[in-house]
Assembly symmetry: C2
Homo-oligomer: 203 residues x 2
DNA sequence: TGCTGTTTTGTCAATATTGACGGAACTGTG
DNA sequence: CACAGTTCCGTCAATATTGACAAAACAGCA
């Protein structure tokens, strides 16, 4: 009885599927590629395809998830006594935007994708980010449960980061440096305190 | 040329579909009901069904959307010089939980539904809420665009409300009054100022 | 009423997804 | 190697969704 058996084979087909899919996507576009083609290219059945990925489009977003993994690690590496906002900021600035396939795959095929799908996925990533922060805080304070203040704090931080992303997405010229800058600004607004001389002063 | 023609017929089938669906769902459960059955009961084709609702499950969540409509109206009715957090709080407390089919339909069939589906929808509602608040603020300040501080402010408020909901959902005993109380608390935390003597003091 | 442009449906045919069941491959052991 | 337990995969058969195209219903107008 081993806790993680046969993950070898499974992982192999997962990789095969991903590779096959990206090749097709690149060559003939996402919508023009059928799930069946991907499965065949990878040498498995259609059903097996769906055993590894919840949907055809999830293959596109798989890269985002690896980014999230990276983020969790980055957070964990920060000192425990550092203010949480500072930890998040540091992680965001250290993010390997150019290495992570995140930017590439997602961006260059984005135009072809249904905007709703993209937005929905961004929501999911934001949610996962909030979750990662929540867990990080929970671990740091040694609490066994997700308390109200931890949850809300984490969500606000995620909201700040993705609020920056929303504004960034609406711009014509978008550089990754700008995105980091915007995040920096919104996180600072949080630190400064929304109610005192921060954002809420205006509303 | 009228801006909203023939919406009469369309609305009629939409209602028929909704009615048929809810009846089936109630009687035999959501998963055991096929989209085709609903369409037939409503006297239309399967294709027409999907012209009115993006998916079978959206029929369950349609009620949530009407709740959002209500919220928008409630926000608009608040005085323009009232602090935004206060406006939101007031709207939340005034929400007709018992009247809106929100609570009923969603809650009692929730157990049968895929949790992921529910979570995804809650994310969507949170996003829509943030959007509603953003638009409200934008109108109030007369800005033509969604500025960084408006967007982030709105998102944080939504985050506070849904953070409260997350914690509420994890409890065994859940009363609507408790939910309102939790929201009240998290909104106050925002007002107090995260960075000064609010949540961030602890992290 | 008859004409015309628009909106809503029906029809047909691909795909996309998912549940159920049985066989194959893999791991740890004796 | 044979055996037992587990995990992964193939097969089959429903559904769920979506795109393309044409007919039907409806609104405004001569």
């Amino acid at each position: 009885m081993s806790r993680n058996p046969q993950t070898v084979r499974s992982e192999r087909t997962r990789v095969a599927l991903r590779r096959a899919a990206l090749a097709r996507f690149q060559a003939q576009g996402v919508e023009a590629t059928s799930a069946e083609q991907i499965a065949e290219d990878a040498g498995v059945t259609l059903r097996t395809f769906y055993r590894h990925f919840p949907s055809k489009h999830d293959l596109l977003f798989a890269d985002y998830d690896s980014g999230l993994q990276w983020f969790r690690g980055a957070l964990a590496a920060r000192p425990d006594d550092e203010p949480i906002v500072e930890s998040v900021r540091a992680a965001i600035f250290a993010f390997p935007y150019d290495v992570q396939p995140l930017t590439q795959m997602a961006a260059f095929r984005a135009a072809e994708l249904d905007p709703d799908r993209i937005v929905a996925h961004l929501r999911q990533v934001e949610s996962d980010l909030a979750d990662a922060i929540t867990e990080h805080l929970r671990r740091r304070v040694g609490s066994s449960e997700r308390t109200l203040d931890i949850v809300v704090t984490a969500r606000c931080i995620a909201a700040a980061v993705f609020g920056a992303m929303e504004v960034w997405m609406l711009r014509e010229k978008r550089s990754l440096a700008d995105l980091a800058e915007l995040s920096h600004a919104t996180l600072t607004a949080l630190e400064t305190g929304l109610g005192v001389d921060g954002l809420f002063r205006h509303y």
